[in-house]
Amino acid sequence: MPKELSVFLENKPGRLGSVAGILAESEINVRTMTLQDRGEFGLMKLIVDKPEIADLALKDNGFASALKDILAILLVDKPGSFNKLAAACDKHNINIIDAYGFVIESNKQAVFCVEVSEPDRIKKLLQQEGFTLLEEELYEF
């Protein structure tokens, strides 16, 4: 299962830059990122090409970071495909903690990254529903 890199950050100027700097120095390519904000602090969530190396680099620099399993669902980049996924989630009562997506090739392919509490079970459910779930190829796709 692919990994999401999650970093605890205080909400103050310069913190995003520090993370970006460390990742650049370690030659990490960021595929996408999102921020979850709680006022004085937040979580930065990233999909990168070398998550283990990125995680260690951040930890070496004193950051609280962690790797988490994530579901990466491949969708066709056209109207209605997100609706299909949402309907499947509703049908199986899947509770989504956090989600974000990115387009891989315009009008062709997109990836939807979903954080859930039981990734293994839900991965199987979605595969049964006919969805393609990406493994480590997510990093280089």
């Binding site: 999401e4 890199l5 999650s6 605890f8 950050l9 205080e10 913190r15 979850q36 709680r38 004085e40 602090f41 979580l43 969530k45 930890k59 004193g62 950051f63 609280a64 970071s65 962690a66 790797l67 988490k68 903690i97 956090d98």
Partner: protein, 436 residues
């Protein structure tokens, strides 16, 4: 000014007679103390084995000081001087190192305490015609119950609402024509800020006096309260080791707090050397309780700083006056009237594994009220990348602190290594409240 008394004879007793009464009561108190496990051992070392060994008040100096740690080590029964069927009340304080302290009271002890409070109330010019809203916490905190009993004894109409719930406080003040408040100065200022919000004007209220205490405050704060509310504010001082409020209180002249010296022997000492200081010299206040049989305390070090005001008061009371409290000898913090030691906070947060090793305690003013902000670093090895774990951690710290120190703190999570690191003794407390 017409001066009124609750107990004119005692309150205006001449010094020699007052000292004679102190000596008689000191002997009795030493007798009670010898019934306790703690003082039996402590006094034997100084050669005091019976009340007769106290010949004059100067013999008090033979008795070593008693400290808060002595009380902790004697918990729960080491300072109990009577059989348990004589005890009618227990007050405990929360422990900073896990061990609390306890004070026991007999029926007579409570009566003595109440008598002192009746004197205090009458000394301010208040009396039975007043409606008294007691806005100090009830329960284990002696501030609420102490004044409550005194006010009832005087015959005031007592509203025992306790602290908090500002809207309801103002409503009751209005509905029942409250004339006297017992409250911390910061809360009273906060109430003034809220009056407009609840659409109550000062003219809707009948306030005349406020008894203010439980937290250090400046003369300017008193003046501000008096100007804002058009009332007289009287300083009140007490501590649970000396029963609670009513140890010292201002009379209508508001020029220092009369200490009821028939009930307490007051000394001011150099906190470093323990040497007794003369009048007008600032030092640590030391009290010997002369009016409590169940838990006698001899030469108790309060850790409060102040001085004895020289000279006679125009009111005619012969009991000497204590200055306002000028500080503390230890690191105790007073937050909205509640006593908190930084060690209590440390104990709570260091029990939580997801918290790193560094933390800071910030104190700010939020309008008239104190705000306690606890900044903690998260521990990176136990971080799993979930927002829910951060939310839960914050909530847990808040709830655990609330249970331990009875204050609702604001909790901030910080990155590992982001809080200032100190060489040697860390400066963990940042008090940004204005100083007096």
């Amino acid at each position: 000014m017409e001066v009124r008394f609750w107990n004119k004879e005692i309150e205006t007793l001449d010094r020699p007679a007052l000292e004679q009464l102190q000596l008689k009561r000191l002997r009795e108190t030493v007798g009670y103390a010898l019934q306790t496990h703690f003082y039996k051992n402590r006094l034997a070392k100084t050669g005091i084995t019976s009340p007769e060994d106290i010949k004059t008040l100067a013999d008090l100096k033979k008795i070593p000081y008693t400290t808060k740690d002595d009380m902790r080590e004697s918990y729960p029964r080491g300072l109990l001087a009577v059989s348990s069927d004589e005890v009618v009340r227990i007050h405990t304080s929360s422990g900073t190192t896990g061990l609390p302290t306890v004070i026991y009271y007999t029926r007579e002890d409570l009566d003595n305490w109440t008598e002192n409070l009746a004197r205090c109330i009458i000394a301010t010019g208040a009396g039975r015609a007043d409606v008294f809203q007691n806005m100090m916490s009830y329960g284990m905190f002696t501030g609420g119950l102490g004044l409550h009993y005194g006010a009832e004894k005087v015959g005031m109409t007592v509203i025992p609402i306790g602290g908090g719930n500002t809207k309801r406080q103002i409503q009751l003040m209005k509905d029942f024509g409250t004339t006297v408040l017992h409250i911390t100065p910061s809360y009273l200022l906060h109430i003034h800020d809220k009056l407009a919000e609840v659409e109550v004007k000062l003219s809707d209220l009948a306030l005349k006096r406020a008894f203010i205490g439980a937290e250090p405050h400046s003369e300017n704060t008193r003046k501000k309260i008096e100007d804002l509310f058009h009332i007289d504010a009287y300083n009140s001082y007490g501590l649970s080791e000396m029963n609670g409020p009513g140890v010292a209180f201002e009379c209508e002249y508001k020029n220092g707090m009369h200490t009821w010296e028939d009930g307490y022997i007051m000394e001011i000492i150099d906190p470093k050397t323990g040497a007794v200081l003369s009048e007008e010299m600032e030092g640590e206040i030391v009290f010997t309780n002369l009016i409590r049989r169940a838990t006698p305390l001899l030469r108790y070090r309060t850790r409060d700083l102040g001085y004895i005001i020289k000279g006679a008061c125009p009111c005619g009371r012969t009991h000497r006056r204590l200055s306002r409290i000028t500080g503390r000898t230890d690191d105790m913090l007073i937050v909205n009237g509640v006593n908190v030691f930084p060690s209590q906070i440390e104990e709570v947060i260091m029990r939580i594994p997801q918290v790193g090793t560094n933390y800071q305690i910030h104190l700010e003013k939020d309008g008239a009220l104190d705000k306690l902000i606890i900044k903690v670093e998260i521990y990176s090895k136990l971080f799993h990348g979930e927002m829910s774990e951060l939310d839960n951690l914050k909530r847990k710290i808040k709830e655990d602190l609330r249970a331990s120190i009875i204050i609702n703190p604001q909790v901030e999570l910080h990155e590992p290594g982001s809080l200032p690191v100190f060489e040697g003794k860390a400066k963990r407390v940042v008090d940004n409240r204005p100083k007096f």
